[in-house]
């Protein structure tokens, strides 16, 4: 018996890994890609996407071995029973008018929206704890999320991943417009990548260049997706995205030429060994028409054509094995035509409670073509309690950006493609069919000046001393120096009053 035990253990140890290897293909995979898009204004946008997919049931306790999927986030999912998590940090504002529609827009500052599992009993408590944990993970001020800036939208922010029901009770949404994004937020974000910033596309993520741009947005999206075509079980998907817009006017002295080195001060040297796919897409639409005006160097090995955001586009694909790239590019025209959506009007308004919850106004509106729609909200400027003023009250107070989500009919019909095979930049938002595409736009935050008391020190001192002098000193001085006299009561007794009454009735002067 004593000899059999170690033997049995040995067999188990040998069988365990072996059985796991044979039963399934690698349970997690990493795909990374970089899309470089010349914008209509002449600037250049670069969008990184890193997608880690894990075929595992994270919800069940007991998952302890993490390979590519970051453990910090995996534990969050199981502990707080998350269904979806979307977190973005943005510095700057995506100027749709000049840059065209973005792949993923995010509001200026920090945005967090989370769908919880329907097993969660106290959503607000989990939300509070979650935001605090995330605050620690990303070195951001997410701990300032509380009931005063959290809302539960009812019409927008549907789950992006696999979902059976959409009970909005389990959705929480918050924006911190004042959040400043910097290196301290980028570093923890980079650490979540399997290759960190050692190899692959993430080599390009050099902080001093990324923060030398017109727009910087980094995000983390976690959602459940189908594991296979028949959707018999689910996998977890983590997408890390980072978009930057390089100002061609400043960096290129007005020319629209760009190269990876000029933008990132790095070139790509080797792919990430853990990645199953690592690609660079360069938007070369119009390449075939105007051969002279555009030259990509080195010439791409393959090209990819698809309907992106309603227009047909051509991308040059570089697998990371081809490392030499010095390039030249040209802008494209994106046009966005509005057609009448079939939905009817819908207005949901949830009034604010002072210091408890913010206003929420959701409207479903049909926009006629070539029209301007103005939504205005009146508000009163009120004095806050004196403890509620920030250290810089004269800077103003921020109103969160508003959100516009739309399903826009596509100009060209897209052919249905295999979702797993399509590039990452095209597959974050679920597409129902090829005839329309989804966009979400944000407005800029609003800075509102509230009436502010004078907080200067001399003012307070003057107020205090004047009060003390007026109330205390004056009264005491008076009490101490005055003399008191006894005054004879003027009115007589009851008899005299009665007599006077009678005399008045008779018209005789009173006594």
């Amino acid at each position: 018996m004593a000899a059999a035990m170690p033997l049995a253990l040995l067999v188990l140890l040998l069988l365990g890994p072996r059985g796991w290897c044979l039963a399934e293909p690698p349970r997690d995979s990493l795909r990374e890609e970089l899309v470089i898009t010349p914008l209509p204004s002449g600037d250049v946008a670069a969008t990184f996407q890193f997608r880690t997919r894990w075929d595992s049931e994270l919800q069940r306790e007991g998952v302890s071995h993490y390979r590519l999927f970051p453990k910090a986030l995996g534990q969050l999912i199981s502990k707080y029973s998350l269904r979806e998590l979307h977190l973005s940090f943005t510095q700057g504002f995506w100027r749709t008018r000049y840059w065209g529609p973005p792949f993923l827009q995010a509001p200026s500052g920090a945005e967090l929206w989370v769908w919880f599992q329907d097993t969660v009993t106290d959503v607000d408590k989990s939300w509070k704890e979650l935001s605090n944990v995330l605050s620690g993970i990303f070195c951001a001020s997410l701990n300032f999320i509380d009931s005063t800036n959290t809302v539960t939208p009812t019409a927008s922010f549907k789950p992006l991943g696999l979902a059976n029901d959409t009970d909005h009770y389990f959705l929480r949404y918050a924006v911190l417009p004042r959040e400043v994004v910097c290196t301290e937020n980028l570093t923890p974000w980079k650490k979540l990548l399997p290759c960190s910033s050692k190899a692959g596309l993430s080599v390009l993520l050099k902080a001093d260049r990324l923060f030398h741009t017109s727009y910087h947005s980094q995000a983390v999206h976690i959602r459940p997706v189908c594991r296979n075509a028949r959707c018999t079980s689910i996998s977890w998907e983590l997408r890390q995205t980072l978009s930057v817009v390089f100002d061609a006017f400043i960096t290129g002295q007005g020319k629209k030429d760009w190269s990876l080195f000029r933008m990132f001060s790095r070139t790509l040297t080797e792919p990430c060994p853990l990645a199953s796919e690592s690609r660079v897409y360069v938007d070369i639409t119009n390449y075939n028409q105007d051969n002279e005006t555009l030259e990509v160097n080195p010439p791409p090995t393959t090209t990819y054509q698809d309907i992106i955001l309603g227009t047909r586009k051509t991308y040059a694909i570089y697998d990371l094995l081809d490392t030499a790239m010095i390039n030249n590019s040209r802008n494209l025209n994106i046009q966005l035509k509005w057609k009448r959506p079939p939905e009817n009007g819908y207005i949901h308004y949830q009034p604010a409670q002072d210091r408890l919850q913010p206003h929420l106004l959701e409207m479903l509106i049909q926009l006629p073509a070539n029209s301007v729609t103005k939504v205005s909200i009146q508000f009163e400027r009120a004095l806050l309690k004196w403890t509620e003023y920030t250290p810089d009250p004269n800077h103003g107070f921020y109103v969160s950006p508003s959100v516009l989500s739309a399903l826009v009919p596509s100009v060209v019909a897209a052919k249905p493609v295999d979702w797993e095979e399509s590039p990452l930049f095209n597959s974050l938002f679920p597409v129902s069919d090829g005839s329309n595409y989804f966009v979400r736009l944000y407005t800029e935050p609003l800075l509102v000046n509230l009436p502010t008391p004078d907080f200067s020190m001399p003012y307070n001192v003057i107020c205090l001393t004047c009060t003390v002098v007026a109330v205390c000193y004056g009264s005491f001085y008076n009490l101490l120096t005055r003399t008191f006299h006894i005054e004879e009561p003027r009115t007589g007794g009851l008899a005299k009053r009665l007599a006077n009454l009678i005399r008045r009735a008779r018209g005789v002067p009173p006594l």
């Binding site: 700057g92 100027r95 417009p177 741009t213 800077h395 103003g396 800075l447 000046n449 009490l479 005055r482």
Partner: protein, 642 residues
């Protein structure tokens, strides 16, 4: 306090004040004037200093070197402008886009209430062009504005050139944290007003304009630029805005800092800065500047397009390049560097400008008088009214109750003297009680009639201009001004002719003086209240009106040398004050007026005052016609009481 203070001593003080009423009034008036004159001497005037941390200690190196570019832009602009005869919108759009700005236009139109003869315009329509430099990695929550107002003549093309050259230079820098709006407005202030209203999505003056397509958040500060030549000998700064509003003193300090740094010759009110404040010369020169500032602030006009920004709580000032015949001249690079430095420091702001003074007077660019120091001057003048009210009230109460039970009223009057506060509710309620004896009815008629005159003065000139042009051979603008003067003069004749039948009945039964004293009491309280409120919001206007109106108001009575009083009262009426101010203003600018010129200028000023009320919302015209003119008529009424 009232319960605990000693009534015996208070009564003694009140008696003293009543006995010495006339000397005290004279003393107080003289003290007020003397205090004002003393404001230019060093203990009362202080050196300016930068309060804002974000702009104070930080160093900025100016690198602007686009002088040639600015001149080329200016030449092109002037040529295109001459060719098209209006603002070359297409050229501006193209040029702004070529230097890398987001460009938008806004069209506006406005029909003035009557033709503006000074600027020669009536039906105005124009286009504003503005380009926005988007700060990298900022969400367009805050912005700064550099604006160049273009009038009907092409005098400001150098400023447009400099604006474009600065835009090109700024666009190449990466340190901007706030968006910068480069705004070129047509029809100078009208365009600015249209743009500001559209930017803040309000409509206060009946301007028709297209909505703005591009915005850049809350405007933190604005600088308006007016240049008329390639070289300047000095830069003049204008701070007075609409209704006497002033920008935060830190903005002026900022300008002064860069004047010193760049070695630019900077002037205030067109006056050079006195250097020596220890001898008498410096303060005397400062007094001229101070008086000019008081006159300009009192006028309530926006002296430059910055004045309209102040209404939206945007700190702003106007810089004017002046090319006179001095030896040292600066080219556009020097001006551009000063502007670059100002914008870079404003870019550092974390909060909007709020640290320094908002209410001040400037005897020089580097000296200021704060509100705590200049208010006593107005306080002393108003004290005269307070003293008069108390003495009059005492007389009134004495008439009513000769037995000496008028103790309550007396202490109430005494309180007014002690605190010098004509706004205290005590005397008003008391006097109303006392007035009941007189019969309010006798006061209602003159009050109503004078107010109706004021209303007619406010409404009729603009409403009746078409009737006037049909019946008389005059233009609309002339008609308005002449109707104004006619109604003003008619007011002098009307009230004292009509009050007799209404008031005689009451007066005859009581003491003969009762009627006019009650009326004068009401008029004094009315005047004190108005002047007090005006002095708080626009010190210059309040002080100017108090200086002129208070002596005549205090003296007015139906006995004694009536002709003398009448002459004095006419000389200190609001219109005469305006005329006198015009002469004083030109005298201080060392360009004295002849009588005929002065009269022409007076007529023009009347038309401008009405026009500015309708186009920009300046409040001087309604204030004079609805508030002070009726009040003044009451004193006129008192003088001719029978």
């Amino acid at each position: 306090m009232g319960l605990l203070s000693d009534p015996v001593r208070r009564r003694a003080l009140a008696r003293l004040v009543l006995r010495l009423n006339a000397p005290l009034c004279v003393l107080s008036y003289v003290a007020g004037i003397a205090w004002f004159l003393a404001l230019v001497f060093p203990p009362l005037t202080q050196r300016t200093y930068m309060s804002e941390n974000a702009m104070g200690s930080t160093m900025v190196e100016e690198q602007f070197a686009g002088g040639d570019r600015a001149r080329a832009f200016a030449r092109d602009f002037a040529a295109h402008r001459k060719k098209s005869g209006a603002l070359p919108v297409a050229w501006l759009e193209r040029t702004m886009r070529s230097v890398g700005l987001e460009v938008y236009t806004q069209s506006f139109s406005r029909k003035l209430p009557f033709p503006d003869e000074t600027h020669e315009r009536y039906m105005v329509s124009g286009t504003n062009v503005y380009g926005i430099l988007r700060a990298p990695r900022a969400a367009s929550t805050e912005s700064l504005v550099l604006t160049v107002p273009c009038g009907s003549d092409s005098t400001n093309s150098q400023a447009v050139g400099l604006l474009l050259a600065l835009a090109a230079h700024f666009r190449g820098q990466i340190y901007w944290a706030k968006d910068i709006i480069f705004l070129v407005t047509e029809h100078d202030l009208l365009g600015t007003e249209a743009w500001l209203e559209a930017y803040h999505d309000v409509n206060v003056t009946g301007m028709q304009s297209s909505p703005l397509q591009g915005r850049a958040g809350a405007i933190q500060a604005a600088v308006a630029l007016e240049l008329s030549s390639d070289v300047v000998t000095s830069l003049d700064v204008a701070v007075e805005g609409l209704n006497g509003q002033l920008p935060n003193l830190d903005l002026l300090n900022l300008f002064q800092t860069f004047c010193q740094k760049g070695g630019l010759l900077c002037t205030l009110q067109g006056k050079l800065q006195p250097q020596d404040w220890t001898s008498l010369d410096g303060p005397l020169q400062g007094l001229q500047t101070l008086l000019l500032m008081v006159l300009r602030q009192a006028s309530g006009r926006p002296h430059g397009s910055h004045g309209l920004f102040l209404r939206y709580r945007v700190e702003a000032l106007t810089l004017r390049g002046i090319n006179s015949f001095r030896q040292y001249k600066y080219d556009l690079v020097a001006v551009g560097k000063a502007l670059e430095g100002m914008f870079r420091k404003l870019n550092h702001l974390l909060e909007r400008l709020h640290q320094s003074f908002f209410l001040y007077l400037l005897p020089a660019l580097s000296r200021f008088v704060s509100i705590g120091l200049y208010m006593p001057a107005a306080g002393f003048l108003l004290l005269v009214l307070g003293l008069k009210i108390s003495s009059l009230h005492e007389a009134e109460v004495g008439l009513e109750e000769p037995g000496g039970v008028g103790f309550q009223g007396l202490t109430a009057g005494g309180m007014v003297v002690v605190f010098g506060d004509p706004l205290a509710p005590g005397p008003i309620s008391k006097s109303l009680c006392a007035l009941q004896g007189v019969g309010l009815a006798s006061l209602v008629a003159p009050l109503l009639i004078s107010q109706a005159m004021g209303l007619a003065l406010y409404v009729l000139p603009v409403l009746g201009q078409h009737v006037a042009t049909q019946h008389f051979p005059v233009a609309e603008a002339e008609a308005v001004v002449l109707t104004l003067l006619a109604i003003y003069a008619a007011g002098l004749a009307l009230p004292h002719n009509t009050h007799r039948p209404l008031s005689c009945r009451v007066v005859s039964t009581q003491a003969p003086d009762r009627g006019w004293m009650a009326l004068k009491l009401v008029a004094l309280i009315y005047l004190a209240l108005q002047l007090g409120c005006i002095a708080l919001t626009n010190f210059s206007l309040g002080f100017l009106l108090a200086t002129t109106m208070v002596p005549a108001a205090a003296l007015a009575k139906p006995h004694g040398p009536r002709t003398l009083y009448a002459a004095l009262l006419v000389l200190t009426s609001p219109a005469a004050t305006l005329l006198g101010s015009l002469f004083l203003w030109r005298e201080l600018q060392e360009a004295p007026l002849s009588l005929a010129e002065g009269w022409q200028l007076f007529l023009a000023a009347l038309a401008q005052g009405v026009l500015e009320h309708h186009t920009y919302g300046a409040l001087l015209f309604p204030l004079l016609s609805l508030g002070l003119y009726p009040c003044w008529l009451l004193f006129w009424n008192v003088l001719f009481w029978k």
